[in-house]
């Protein structure tokens, strides 16, 4: 081994022991740290600097209880440790990360890791909490029995990192060539033996807490209470959606005003002609109409991050398991589905924690039916344009009620589809549901803020990369070709987009879509919220004045507006989602099925809503 080669160190441990926090602390890396068992689904690599100037490559791996992998997540951990991943050598050293307050299960894992023959460092993370609880750990005895150096860290406070890196570096130097892996899948009897060994180890080296954590028990007696717990969960969800619509409003007004001022300013500076049209109607109006939803998206993600980081998400999965199970979904599907309210892409990625392929596929297929934040722009626009702003029964806002029913429609459709998949395609027993309920923790503000910053940036750069070019395209298609001399009607009717819209109109006539709506759907296939910007551009080019909502109120019938909303509950209008489904399922089969069934549902729902509304005289 040449001294210049950078040794690779893999972080292995149970879920929620702080591997990701440790990875971030060691590498200064930016990655999601959360508290739901198994949130780390991506392989994360980073470089750590030792005081000596030497570097180590650090690998963050999904949490696991054993190398006998059951979920796609754990397969990655096993294969990374055993060097079975294509193009990746086995790690030089394993850092076995332990939650110092919960040593029982990780000690057995450490014994299993030892059988790989790789050098190991055992790290007692969360030692701050262990000390607070008065847990005493005999590091020397532990080290002797495990046959590996032991050290302690507080990942979130960056304590003990240098000592850990030094031990890892020493272990890396000590190892000669790659050792032959002695690991094979242990039989039940061997697991029992290892448990006995681990328990003996606990007895010799660990003195139980003198001040045990009582907070988790006390909180659970409310939060897991059959009645109280469900009430709190519903209350939290209600608060979350309430916040998305009320707290965000002032910030949204500000952004809206900012873009309006920008448009006025640009109009004053730029020469008259098509340039102004492109910049003002295409770019500024288009991007502004999407960025205005940043506050809502941030609030939604803030809630999800706080729930994950505090340890509550696992409780939500516990409470929801039976309800989800009734529809043929796994309790663990609750987290992916809840994340899908923000965006289906991270939601679908987090399905990797689901062990069974069938349950995972069902969750993936239904996740895009959850009302993601990209639908919020469309919903809010149409609702504010067409639904009267008045109260029902004195308290409930009619607009809020419509919004709520759109969310409810998405959830019910997802449950229905999951149920059908279960009944029609995959009959058979249900999968086991077994998961650790982590101790409650106060979320780390720094961690939450960093993750929130990532989300904000992802959204803004998406607006820049996808939405901006599409807006230019929509603007160009709806501006050219110019109408002939003395033509009647709006200019856009003669443009390429207008012609395409007219051409497709007969297909969409039964569901009440005008050609402008059809035109907006075309770029909206790439990303849902683009439809809003596209509508803005179409009507702006068409010479309509004033706020978009006002224009729609004049141009659309209520029946058409409701049909458009119904369409949007189901329509598979998101390239990113289809791409991630292809990646996660390894082919075009499942994304094609998803596209077809969602499109079918969208058309059927819009048809029913349009025809029913017309029959009720809501034209």
């Amino acid at each position: 081994m040449t001294p210049t080669r950078i040794a690779t160190v893999a972080l292995v441990g149970n879920p929620n022991c702080g591997k990701t926090a440790l990875f971030n602390a060691l590498t200064g890396g930016r990655q999601k740290v959360a508290n739901y068992a198994g949130v780390t689904v991506e392989r994360k690599e980073g470089l750590a600097n030792l005081p000596t100037g030497r570097q180590l490559r650090i690998l963050d791996l999904p949490g696991t209880y054993s190398l006998r992998a059951r979920s796609p997540d754990e397969v990655i951990t096993r294969d990374a440790v055993l060097g079975r991943l294509a193009g990746e050598p086995p790690p030089d050293v394993i850092i076995c990360v332990a939650d110092a307050t919960n040593l029982g299960l990780v000690l057995r894992l450490a014994l299993e890791l030892k059988t790989t023959g790789l050098p190991m460092v055992f790290v007692l993370n969360m030692i701050d909490i262990a000390e607070r609880q008065g847990i005493e750990i005999d590091v020397e005895a532990l080290s002797r029995e495990l046959g590996a150096p032991v050290t302690a860290t507080v990942a979130t406070r960056k304590k003990g990192l240098e000592a850990l890196l030094e031990l890892a570096a020493t272990q890396a130097d000590g190892s000669s060539a790659t050792p032959p892996s002695g690991w094979r899948e242990p039989a039940a009897s061997e697991v029992r033996v290892a448990h006995r060994q681990a328990r003996d180890l606990m007895r010799t080296a660990v003195r139980p807490p003198s001040r045990p954590d009582t907070l988790t028990g006390r909180l659970d007696s409310l939060l897991l209470h059959p009645v109280g717990g469900v009430a709190v969960l519903l209350g939290l969800l209600f608060l979350m959606f309430q916040a998305v619509f009320t707290w965000a409003a002032p910030a949204q007004d500000l952004i809206e005003a900012g873009f309006a001022a920008l448009g006025v300013g640009a109009e004053a500076i730029l020469p008259d002609g098509w340039m102004t049209g492109l910049v003002v109607d295409g770019l500024i109006a288009g991007v502004g109409s999407v960025l205005v939803f940043l506050p809502q998206i941030l609030i939604l993600f803030l809630f999800i991050l706080l729930l994950e980081d505090s340890g509550y998400m696992a409780r939500a999965a516990f409470l929801m398991d039976r309800i989800m199970g009734g529809a043929g979904l796994h309790g663990r599907a609750f987290i992916p589905l809840l994340s899908s309210f923000a965006c289906a892409v991270p939601g679908i990625m987090s399905t990797r924690v689901i062990d069974s392929r069938r349950d995972r596929l069902t969750t993936i297929l239904t996740a895009p039916l959850m009302t993601c934040s990209a639908r919020i722009p469309v919903y809010t626009l149409i609702i504010s344009a067409l639904i009267p702003n008045r109260t029902v029964g004195g308290v409930l806002s009619l607009q809020g009620l419509v919004m709520f029913s759109l969310y409810a429609a998405g959830i019910l459709a997802a449950l229905g589809v999951a149920f059908l998949i279960r009944k029609v395609f995959w009959r058979g027993g249900s999968e086991p549901f077994m998961m650790q309920l982590p101790d409650y923790k106060r979320p780390e503000p720094g961690n939450v803020l960093r993750n929130l910053g990532q989300k904000a940036w992802a959204f803004i750069s998406r607006a820049g990369r996808i939405i901006l070019p599409l807006m230019v395209l929509v603007w160009a298609l709806s501006s050219w070709p110019a109408p002939p001399e003395g033509a009647e009607g709006p200019d856009i009717a003669y443009s390429a987009a207008g012609r395409l819209g007219h051409w497709l109109e007969p297909i969409f006539a039964p569901i009440g879509f005008s050609w402008e709506m059809v035109v907006a759907l075309i770029p909206g296939m790439a990303a849902r919220e683009v439809a809003v910007a596209a509508l803005g551009a179409i009507y702006a080019v068409g010479g309509e004045e004033g706020a978009l909502a006002g224009i729609l109120a004049r141009q659309w019938s209520l029946a058409s507006g409701l049909a458009f909303l119904a369409w949007y509950v189901f329509a598979p209008q998101c390239v990113a989602t289809l791409a991630v489904v292809k990646r996660e399922t390894g082919g075009w089969l499942w994304p094609s099925i998803m596209f077809a069934y969602m499109l079918g549902l969208a058309y059927a729902a819009a048809f029913l809503v349009f025809q029913a509304s017309r029959a009720l005289g809501l034209a």
Partner: protein, 100 residues
């Protein structure tokens, strides 16, 4: 001290899958899973999973909570670690009762 009339609710030994919050015991046996659909996890798989989550002979188990619908799943403490699992899986864990 044996009761004169055995309470059917407090049989000994008992099955974790039939236990309720407050029940306390030491595992005397973790069985291989029952006759599940062959397409699903094999019986051996369930036993291994239980073992990996710490359900092993000699471990102390306390039932803490049960789910809102049909009392399923259950939340238990196994040697100090909180685990949630469905009753179907818990049917494979047999305990000897301990006084609360």
């Amino acid at each position: 001290m044996p009761n004169a009339v055995p309470d059917p609710e407090r049989t000994n030994p008992f099955i974790l899958g039939e236990a309720h919050p407050g029940d306390l015991g030491v595992i005397i046996k973790v069985r291989t899973g029952g006759d599940r659909d062959p397409d699903e996890l094999t019986a051996r798989e369930i036993e291994l999973r239980l073992l990996e989550f710490g359900f092993v002979e000699g471990a102390r188990v306390e039932v803490l909570h049960e789910g809102p619908i049909g009392g399923d799943p259950i939340a238990v403490r196994v040697d100090g670690i909180r685990i949630a699992l469905r009753r179907a899986e818990a049917m494979n864990v047999i305990l000897k009762r301990e006084a609360a």
